[in-house]
């Protein structure tokens, strides 16, 4: 547990001191969302109807941008090898890095999303479902994305390959995330969709760290 927390705080400090990485994802989230009213026209009804979808898709792409660097720097400077040799099992190392990554890039998205949703004129009735679905969904994105980030370590054009590998696996999260908000907006219960998102989170917690550490280990061998 101490080793887990040590890696978590090391990664968090690295991300925050670098600054740019976490800020890039957040700035991308803000800017990309604000492009939609310009592209689609500012009609409040239209924006209100598609706000949840916009926010979810942009959150998905923002997490993709941030994931690219998840293992890459540690892989290049050799500290990933040191972490693999550490007594802590590799899946837990991955989980600690992911926790730090999510706190620095995922959580700000969850906090910003309701503000952006209101700017897009979404009905406030959908806000709890939006926050809940993002809280459950963005960790899934990090967990699934970690597998892809580990797979493309050392690959030619890895950054271009990553979206192709990961986006198909993201789609179930996107479907249930937006469905939860849509259900809440039309006066239905968002609970079934949130429960399915929770199920996806549990599955990706069970599979993601192991698959990512298996992939990272081969990059090291």
């Amino acid at each position: 547990m101490r080793a887990f927390l040590a890696i978590l705080s090391r990664d968090l400090r690295l991300i925050l001191r670098h600054g740019s990485e976490a800020a890039t994802a957040v700035a991308f989230f803000l800017l990309a969302t604000l492009l939609f009213p310009f592209g689609l026209g500012p009609e409040p009804e239209l924006l209100a109807r598609i706000a949840a979808g916009i926010l979810w898709v942009v959150a998905l792409l923002a997490s993709l941008i941030a994931l690219d660097r998840l293992f890459a720097e540690d892989y290049q400077d050799g500290s990933l090898e040191q972490l693999a040799l550490a007594p802590l099992p590799m899946p837990l190392v991955v989980l600690a890095k992911l926790a730090a990554h999510w706190l620095a890039t995922g959580l700000p998205l969850v906090i910003l999303a309701p503000i952006l949703a209101l700017m897009l004129r979404m009905d406030p009735a959908g806000l709890p479902a939006l926050i809940g679905s993002l809280l459950l969904g963005t960790p899934c994105l990090s967990l699934i994305g970690a597998v892809g980030a580990a797979l493309v370590l050392g690959a030619r054009r890895g950054a271009l390959l990553l979206p192709l590998l990961i986006l198909p696996l993201y789609i179930p999260v996107l479907i249930f995330g937006t469905a939860a908000v849509d259900a809440a907006l039309s006066g239905l219960s968002a609970a079934p969709h949130l429960q399915l998102l929770g199920a996806i989170l549990l599955i990706s917690l069970g599979v993601g760290p192991f698959a990512a550490s298996a992939a990272a280990k081969q990059a090291l061998s």
């Binding site: 797979l151 493309v152 050392g154 690959a155 054009r157 390959l161 192709l164 198909p168 179930p172 081969q218």
Partner: protein, 237 residues
């Protein structure tokens, strides 16, 4: 299982299997197509129901090949079986082709039946995702300078992507959209008449035989390529 790891043994086995598979393919495709043309036209869909005899087996094969790749990938990762990697690499483009064919024939069938080439229906969308999974898998093989690394990475991806298979299979039952629900592989008896079921089965077996033929050809070509590379290294050294 490692008895089959030797390329020579595999070559001998594949040479013995090939005439049978090719024969089955040559025999069953005409028979299946003939049966499909003799099968009664659907009372609702008329003659266009005959697309089914190509569409449904292609869709089955798209899923089946991915499942086989996932199994082969597990074998490759756990036992480091060299032929399993070859299997995954050779099967991937074939599976992608089957998936693309299922999408194309489905689109052709959808136009007269549903009045549209494409809808964002659960089954259609999930088959499209399957196609992208195949593409990612194929690209990952070639993305590394080290071939073994590409094989391992692709194997991990194939295993992770396999989670999507049940989602695709049950998408028509979970989401009630335009695509009709499962009518053959379901609890209880199939809801499709035997006069249509038999041609479908013959076509499905024919598709499997075709998969076997192309797979063996692909794996043999991979083995030859590996030998060629070894010879070139030998000369360069």
């Amino acid at each position: 299982m490692h008895r089959f790891a030797s390329p020579a043994r595999f070559q001998r086995l594949s040479r013995r299997l090939m005439p049978w598979l090719a024969g089955a393919c040559l025999l069953l495709f005409p028979v299946g197509l003939l049966l499909a043309f003799l099968a009664p036209a659907d009372y609702q869909q008329g003659l266009s129901v005959r697309i089914m005899y190509v569409h449904v087996p292609s869709a089955w094969m798209g899923l089946q090949v991915y499942a086989l790749i996932a199994i082969a990938s597990a074998v490759a990762l756990i036992w480091r079986h060299p032929l399993a990697d070859l299997f995954a690499k050779s099967a991937s483009p074939i599976g992608a082709a089957f998936t693309a064919m299922a999408l194309a024939t489905g689109s052709l069938w959808g136009k007269p039946m549903w009045g549209t080439w494409w809808v964002w229906d659960a089954r259609l969308t999930s088959m499209l995702i399957l196609l992208f999974l195949y593409l990612g898998h194929m690209l990952l093989f070639g993305a590394f300078d080290d071939r073994v690394r590409g094989q391992r990475a692709a194997a991990v991806l194939a295993l992770v992507g396999a989670i999507n298979l049940p989602i695709i299979k049950f998408s028509v039952n979970w989401w009630n959209t335009l695509h009709q629900p499962a009518s053959i592989l379901r609890w209880g008896a199939p809801t499709i008449d035997p006069s249509m079921l038999w041609p479908l089965f013959v076509m499905a077996i024919a598709f499997n035989a075709y998969f076997g033929v192309t797979l063996l050809l692909g794996m043999r070509a991979e083995l030859l390529e590996a030998r060629l590379r070894a010879l070139q290294y030998g000369r360069a050294a």
